[in-house]
């Protein structure tokens, strides 16, 4: 065995030749708890701060607002935060796919608003065909057919299937029922994304311009769809529950146990397999310590959430909020897609170096179209969540600051605007930061609402600065 001390690990590349760990000495070794901590500090130093800035920001804001109002840390208030931030988290998660490519989708918010409005009209009027202006209805049908054609042309077959499902639901008027209507809205979102991706990747219009134009256009479509009349969504139980529902106490424990045990089981299996194959692996003590820490946090949060948090004695509010569960499930799904599949690997590669990806035989157009389709589909889901939290598919659904807050959430969480770096987790952390600011400020009415924008802006600026500085450090090596 080479005689390097473990201290050379994080310095590889910056030490003089003879001292550098070499000959793959690091590839067969065990990663202990100490080693993991050291590797984490090493990453910090070499310009990959990960979740640290957003977590620190969150801590600072929590400390700040706990001084602003003693209501802030009450269980009731904390329990409301997921519902207030979930739509931002969902839209931001979709944006992560597009930001990974170094592109942007400014239209995700308004496109999502329009999709949610279609669903609202479908269930409220009982028929999309009668509820929407005829020209708009047929435009949607033709648009969906075109999107299927485009998707097949750029070999995005999964996208074509999703859009086809939406087309069938629309044509068979299944949209009069709530669940099919919401599914159709997400499918229409995917179709919108396929057009975005086509215009960016094949036609070659910068994504900023394409989606800026559509950002404006979808606001108008939304008003056509609603014919100037907002639809109340709180009459539909399921739709209302998306924001205001809670898992029952039993279901909360089941939900948390499945996630924690799944994570621990996966990491244990990974460690055992890697050890058997002679690859670098985490020691069992590290895996179990981390698993135990996660389990402890999960148990504390769930136990806390299981108590009645309503100050009003007439109604019991307990259990994990549904929007939190939705965001967590989506995050896990997206993380698996990005880190464990070839599609995710190719997405990172395309974002990191499009030319390298092209030469490696990756279909860059296909990657862009799928990323935009996912982004808009998540936008539609975000629009649905937003309508739920506003209790209404309003005439300005998804416009205004929604998209900008979502981009800000992704960036605050650590996703880079330059492409190639970002995780679904970033969207959740960033959305928490964004949601906490108005929540905390509104608890003290003497603080004017203007502060909300100022503070959000400053937080975003700090996040962007962290991104730029860490990039420079990474480039310097």
């Amino acid at each position: 065995m080479p005689t390097e001390t473990p201290e050379t690990r994080v310095e590889a590349g910056s030490l003089p030749e003879p001292e550098r760990a070499s000959g793959f000495s690091l590839d067969a070794e065990e990663v202990s708890i100490r080693g993991a901590i050291r590797a984490w500090f090493g990453k910090l130093r070499t310009g990959d701060p990960g979740a640290l800035p957003s977590v620190l920001g969150l801590v600072v804001l929590v400390l700040l607002f706990s001084q602003v109002s003693d209501q802030f840390l009450s269980a009731y208030n904390i329990g409301n935060i997921p519902g207030q931030g979930a739509y931002i988290a969902v839209i931001a998660m979709g944006l992560v796919f597009v930001l990974l490519l170094g592109e942007i989708d400014l239209s995700a918010g308004t496109a999502g608003g329009a999709c949610a409005a279609f669903a609202a009209v479908g269930v409220f009027k009982g028929s999309l065909h009668d509820g929407l202006p005829a020209s708009l209805y047929w435009s949607i049908v033709v648009g969906l057919v075109l999107a299927i054609g485009l998707a097949i042309w750029v070999k995005t077959y999964a996208g074509a299937v999703v859009v086809a499902v939406g087309l069938v639901l629309v044509l068979t008027n299944q949209t009069q029922h709530l669940v099919p209507a919401l599914i159709a809205a997400v499918c229409i979102g995917a179709a919108i994304g396929i057009f975005n991706g086509y215009l960016v990747a094949k036609v070659g219009i910068p994504s900023f311009v394409v989606t800026l134009a559509l950002f404006l256009a979808w606001q108008g479509v939304l008003q056509f769809a609603l014919s100037g009349q907002p639809v109340n969504t709180s009459n539909y139980d399921l739709w209302h529950e998306l924001t205001y529902g809670r898992l029952s106490v039993t279901n909360s424990w089941i939900f948390v146990s499945v996630i924690v045990l799944g994570y621990v089981g996966y990491t244990v299996l990974r460690s055992v397999r890697a050890k058997a194959a002679g690859l670098a692996h985490e020691t069992m003590s590290l895996v179990l310590t981390r698993g135990a820490a996660l389990a402890a946090i999960a148990v504390v949060i769930t136990a806390w959430a299981s108590q009645n948090r309503n100050t009003n004695p007439f109604k019991v509010i307990s259990g994990i909020p549904v929007p939190a569960a939705i965001a967590i499930v989506l995050m896990i799904g997206c993380t698996i897609a990005l880190t464990k599949t070839t599609w995710g690997r190719h997405l990172y590669a395309t974002g990191g170096n499009p030319e390298a990806a092209r030469r490696a035989g990756i279909d860059v157009v296909h990657m862009k179209v799928t990323a935009f389709a996912l982004c808009s589909a998540f936008g539609a889901l975000g629009g649905i969540m937003l309508a739920s939290s506003q209790s209404s598919a309003s005439l300005d659904l998804g416009s205004g600051n929604v998209l900008l807050f979502s981009v800000a959430a992704a960036v605050i969480g650590g996703t880079s605007l330059f492409g190639g770096r970002g995780r679904p987790r970033d969207a959740i952390l960033g959305a928490l930061v964004i949601a906490i600011i108005p929540n905390g400020l509104l608890l003290r009415p003497s603080l004017d609402a203007q502060w909300q924008q100022v503070i959000t802006g400053v937080v975003l600026l700090i996040a962007a600065a962290v991104d730029a500085i860490s990039r420079r450090r990474a480039a310097r090596g």
Partner: protein, 259 residues
């Protein structure tokens, strides 16, 4: 002498009225490093692109392991076992060494899920077989590597697929002394493993050191193909700049006709 792996004969290529390659003959032998030298505009890149399937050919024949082949598409070249390492490397900085080596050709299980362990092992074995000692982990991000290490990864990616011929386009152009050393050693080891290596370079010291044979292009013609040990740097420089040197090279009439 062994059979050439790749045999190009009487290759012609024009871009419109510009006749870029004239009756080019070029052979690549297994286990040898063939240097392809020539001034800017001599046709090196065009020749490489013809073999890579990026440019079509007007006339001439390409034989691979004795069989005539047509390379109409970059995938045809890859399928034959011909790999290209371009000057600008084509690595994704935000991915690690293993991920870059398998980019676009990932090993999978259960459909489209990545088989990271198997890829990591193969990447390590490939680098070890090339006696690469300067890389501490195949899970290191490419952004943290030096120029020489990047070049190493790019070359290792080319040999990962048991390729028979590797074209290296100016692999030492942007490297320091120690890193150049590293890459030249790697090129030599590649050939010693039985690979046919084509080494394109402007640096005569590197060429004289690592190549077994030198093919000098002069204005789209092969001025001469000589064995490195039978020649000198001066002679090669003359071949590059004037198409002839002493009694080897193009006939004086041919050499001057293009000017």
């Amino acid at each position: 002498m062994t059979e050439p792996l790749l045999q190009i004969s009487k290759l012609n290529k024009s871009f419109g009225p510009v006749h870029v390659l004239h009756d080019v003959d070029f052979d690549v032998y297994p286990g040898e490093v063939t240097a392809l030298v020539g001034d800017n505009g001599a046709g090196k890149s065009t020749l490489v692109k013809c073999v890579a399937g990026i440019n079509g050919i007007d006339s001439g024949e390409i034989r691979f392991e004795g069989r005539p082949v047509t390379i109409a598409d970059p995938r045809d070249a890859t399928a034959l076992g011909i790999e290209f390492v371009y000057q600008d490397l084509a690595l994704a900085d935000n991915l690690d060494i293993t991920q870059n080596m398998f980019l676009g050709r990932e090993l999978r299980r259960f459909g489209s899920f990545l088989s990271d362990g198997a890829m990591e092992r193969q990447a390590r074995e490939t680098l070890a077989s090339l006696s690469v000692r300067t890389v501490s982990s195949v899970r290191q991000l490419v952004s943290s590597l030096s120029g020489g290490q990047r070049q190493t990864v790019a070359i290792a990616r080319a040999v990962l697929w048991n390729s028979k011929i590797v074209f290296l386009d100016e692999p030492t152009a942007a490297l320091g002394v120690a890193q150049t050393r590293e890459v030249l050693d790697l090129v030599r080891r590649l050939a010693d493993q039985g690979c046919g290596v084509v080494f394109i370079s402007h640096n005569m010291n590197d060429v004289m050191e690592v190549a077994d044979r030198v093919a000098a292009l002069y204005l789209g013609r092969v001025a001469a193909e000589v064995r490195t040990k039978d020649t000198t740097t001066t002679q090669i420089v003359e071949l590059i700049t004037s198409g002839r040197s002493g009694d080897i090279g193009l006939a004086p009439a041919v050499a001057s006709e293009n000017i």
